[in-house]
Amino acid sequence: MTAPDKTLTTPTQTPNRFERDTRRKIINMVFVVLATGATAFAVGALLLILYSLVVNGLGGINLAVFTMDQPPPGEVGGLRNAILGSIIMCTMGMALAVVVGILSGTWLAEYGDGSRIASTVRFLNDVLLSAPSILVGLFVYEMLVRPFHGFSALAGAVALAFLATPVVTRTTEDILRLQSGALREAGMALGANRGFVIRTIIWRASQSGLVTGALLGFARISGETAPLLFTSLGNPFQSFRLDQPMAALPTTIFQFALSAYDDWRRLAWVGALLIATTVLAINILGRVLTRGSTHK
């Protein structure tokens, strides 16, 4: 390594080296500017979207949005049936997803661990995590809509559960893995069996993380449109029957946004603003909760 150093310090080489260093500096500067520019552009584009969402949606928010059902074109109305329908189906979907997801996440972290079958389950769960949601809609249509000859809220809830479960499974496994082995050993040393230790010690210690998993799953499904299009279909009236079609906020937005009526379009913006704020709020809440648990 000494030889090149010598050549670099010889007088004839010096201008070359300066030249090279200047070139390196210029390349570096261009690089920094490009990366900064990319960030500015990306953040700008995303802010632009949020800006038009707020500008177009905020003006339409009033009490009627929450107290009245969707109107025929040209009349006053709100989104009550869609909001309630979304809440009902998402809650039902989450109830299913939390039970299945926490149990399967527990199996992956505590029992399956490194076994071949657990790696397969983990891998396929990760694939399901980003599978196109419209295919889930098709699947549930084939399973629950076609055989029973009718769209139903129940089918919508099942489709949503199918999308949320991988999220809950994944976060449950990650969170349970964070708990120290000493906790498990301490519980077992007292004579408790494994399942008892998991239920009373490990789950309790990871409580906030499990809630975060559920919240992330909820955030994921509350804006889903595609799987509901052919399962719960939508319903212009308020309905609480699970065997009947039910409205949901995203499907109503879809229908209203593509319509030719200005007042329907305004309501679609309001709905989009509501969904975006809900999802953002849930995501932030989930993050705040886990931040508390990791600091402990």
Binding site: A35, A38, T39, S104, W107, E110, L138, P250, A257, L280
Partner: protein, 321 residues
Amino acid sequence: MASVGPTGAASRERETPPGAFGETAFRSLCFGASMVLMIGLAGLIISLAIGGWPAFAKFGFSFFTSSEWDPVADRYGAAGPIAGTLITAFLALLMSLPLAVGVAIFLTEFCPPRIAQPLGMAVELLAGIPSIVYGMWGLFVLAPWFAAHVQAPLAASVTPGSWLERAFAGVPNGANIFTASLILAVMILPYMASVFRELLMAVPPQMREAAYGIGSTSYEVVGSILIPYVRTSAIGAVMLGLGRALGETMAVTFIIGNSHAFPKSLFDSGSTIASTIANEFTEATGELHVAALIALGLVLFVITFGSIAGARLLLGQEKYK
């Protein structure tokens, strides 16, 4: 010999403690829950295969090569939507990849930590915004703007008959393959940026420090240390973004123009598999029409499953070792 009795009894008691049945039940319950998802995935594939079978059987290989999609004559060829899906997804990736890499590098390398933290979190939060919001923005804001400020001037300035005119031909309403790709790019950008950022942050600090220590510029550190270090996972992240773009429904359905013909230019209206299913499924009355749509779903599943599975294999390499 007398002592054998009591110890034997004690060890038998230890073999079957009071909660043993509960333990087995709980364990099986957990195992059953993970199997529910696997059965669901298997069911999804099987139901798509069965539902789409009539279309495959009727049209054979021409289902993939013909671009004639005609519900009235009951003839279905999926070349248009399949091409639309691939073109929009790759265009979106092409546009958002450099930006996502730039954002991730800026956040991990140049940005002061005090700003990087909230900015990074904002990017992650944006990745969670439902696609229907992006779709609405595309329909009401991007498409009219694009028609007025890009398509119209372009159409006026290119010479008629040239290859440029053919590349940019299309109905000037802003609803076309290009704007759909643009929306997709904006949508997968925060997602890919936050994955890249996580990868870059996971590079051991010694690597960076050593490189800076021998006098490297930031560009050299990023180009010859960081990027090679995360290469495999980065390809995984890209394929994950691609998988998202391929299967995205709502953002595209609003703005792609929904024509089933094979797209002829960049500004031609087209369709993707997902948008075709979303638009037609509830209105499909013919047996064969439904089958063709489900067959399309199976094609989409195979394409996305391939890219997501590949991505997970590349990404997962260091995670569970």
